[in-house]
Symmetry: C2
Subunit: 358 residues, 2 copies
């Protein structure tokens, strides 16, 4: 088992990565009170809920099984969690456990952030994406009909348990989506890690436990280092949005149930690469490396059919990462060296989008 600490002062917490953690006593070991509310969805519950509950004997345990799907990531769904906790008279010393992917993690984290103004929560992420992304950073929240992730809070878990064994049941499409974020860490800050990913992409896509563990650990470490330097997202944390300005626009254009987040980020990273090239920083061979590694992870490398330049510009204008309406992009000076660019000439942006949109 691999363990490291996300260093956030009095909100520091450990991430444990290992094969079979779900059945271990790690969860019981981190819970501080006696009351535990395990929240999962109807896709994960039949696979793993009983195994988690069997490690919680002796606790006062309640469960909530939500419907699976991004369309349920909304404020109304939280009421299932709040009502269960309140009818069970769970106090401020209760702990919520998020067993599932990013949607469950975001919702349960937000419920824990706001139940009686904040209680403990533990994340047990069951997708590669949530293991390498939402298990670090403390971002929680729900969507609003007028925008994704618009309502939420920063709330750190008390621990994250990553059982690599659960990836066995993860659909290959979601494995690809998770790999997009892994690749992103290489591109934004570690060219050696990028080279390692390129060398090990087949083992990774084959879910080789040891190789995947290394990728998860390095990804979480990189995110943790960045978050520790910028917990509330004023500066360097913006680098984590490499590929996301374009990616969010793609997701907004396709609507819920279109591409997976990671798929949109895949195409978005290629666009960020092309824009970096247009700005005179990356070589054609660099962009080819981005395209190739994404393709080998079965990720899309161009925008969805029919999405126009105007579609991109419209959706990017409302992205919440854009301060007071100004467009910001995470670009690469070189592979493994990203930065935030606020002065992209609009003709260059148009040229890149024109060349990539079908």
């Amino acid at each position: 088992m691999r363990t490291f600490n996300v260093d956030l002062g009095d909100r520091a917490y450990p991430i444990h990565i290992g094969d079979g953690l779900l059945d271990s006593d790690h969860l019981a070991g981190v819970i501080r009170g006696r009351q535990v509310l395990v929240v999962t969805n109807d896709c994960i519950a039949p696979l793993y809920l009983d195994r988690v509950l069997s490690t919680l004997q002796g606790f006062d345990v309640a469960t909530v099984v939500l419907q699976d799907g991004e369309q349920y990531k909304q404020i109304d769904t939280l009421d299932f969690i709040f009502s269960e906790a309140l009818t069970k008279r769970f106090s401020r010393n209760a702990t919520m456990v998020a067993l599932g992917g990013g949607v469950i993690g975001d919702m349960v984290g937000f419920a824990a952030a706001t139940y009686q103004r904040g209680i403990d929560f533990v994340q047990i992420p069951t997708t590669l994406l949530s293991q390498v992304d939402s298990s670090v950073g403390g971002k929680t929240g729900v969507n609003h009909r007028f925008g994704k992730n618009m309502i939420g809070a920063f709330h750190q878990p008390i621990a994250v348990l990553i059982d690599t064994h659960v990836l066995e049941t993860l659909p290959q499409k979601e494995m690809s989506a998770g790999m997009a974020e892994v690749i992103k860490y290489g591109l934004l800050g570690d060219q050696d890690f990028l080279a390692w990913i390129e060398a090990n992409i087949q083992l990774l896509m084959a879910k080789d436990t040891e190789t995947v563990s290394i990728a998860i650990e390095r990804s979480c470490q990189m995110k943790a280092e960045i978050v520790a330097r910028d917990e509330r997202e004023g500066g360097v944390r913006a680098l984590l949005n490499l590929g996301h300005t374009f990616g969010h626009a793609i997701e907004a254009h396709l609507g819920y149930g279109g591409w997976l987040h990671g798929e949109a980020v895949g195409a978005g990273m290629v666009l960020a690469g092309r824009l970096s090239q247009a700005m005179g920083m990356l070589a054609e061979s660099d962009v080819t490396r981005i395209v190739t590694v994404c393709e080998r992870a079965n990720l899309p490398v161009r925008p969805p059919n029919g999405m126009t330049v105007d579609d991109f510009l419209t959706h990017m204008a409302v992205d919440k990462k854009n301060i007071d309406g100004r467009l910001r992009f995470v670009l690469m000076k070189s592979l493994g060296n990203a930065y935030v660019e606020e002065q992209v000439p609009s003709d260059l942006l148009n040229d890149v989008l024109n060349a990539c949109c079908s």
Copy 2:
């Protein structure tokens, strides 16, 4: 104008108290961005909204007017705020302004705490209760059908503007409710302030501007000192709940639209006094002083007609201040010297309630 700082490190903020602040440029001076969402209710809007808006020329201003009343303090109501902010494309640099009493302050504070994971907000409290209570402490939130204030967050305002002039339009019954909290500060930690309140109760109830300003300032200072020592409510902050364990039970028993919060706290403080007496700490003359000052503030000094000992015990058992089901009371060793008691013998509690319940 009186100004003092609530000292919370990087979340410190000023409280300005003065006659006519509503019409001054203080609000414009504290707002950091250009986008401002002023939220108020349909009782306050006709009285003060235009005056506040007239001080915000040059800003990008939106307004939301909610229905007045505790029954609207719920998560669904927040959507009016979120929807307005999102349709106006307000960014993370926007500021929300809460113009109203405690319900507005709690809801707008919570909306600001969770809009895009937290934005600035300014409080302009328009009741004595909210001026001396919710303007300090950062508690925000909404009620749930299974409990009051069960969903919320700690979120500090960037500034609080208290215009004592607005008390002119405050109903006398609400003036009394606010006085309950003022009296509470004297009882919990400052016998000199208690004596000053007793000496000035007529001027206070007559809304004499200068006298009321002094009471507000001292109340806010006392709360600020306590909160600064215990921002997230682990220890000394519990003293602020003097009278509230009983008071919450009264409110829960009567339901929404029964007594005002301050009225329940008034009767609750008398009960806390009687329990302190039963525990051998206060003299009969001390309890008489509590009863007298509450009566002169037109506050109830005994439980509502028909409320039984069992009603109290049932409602107190679900109060969220009680860790893992144990009853905690804020009692007084002497007037002006409160502490938290977790070991109240149940027969003493029963005796006191029996003697007070009609």
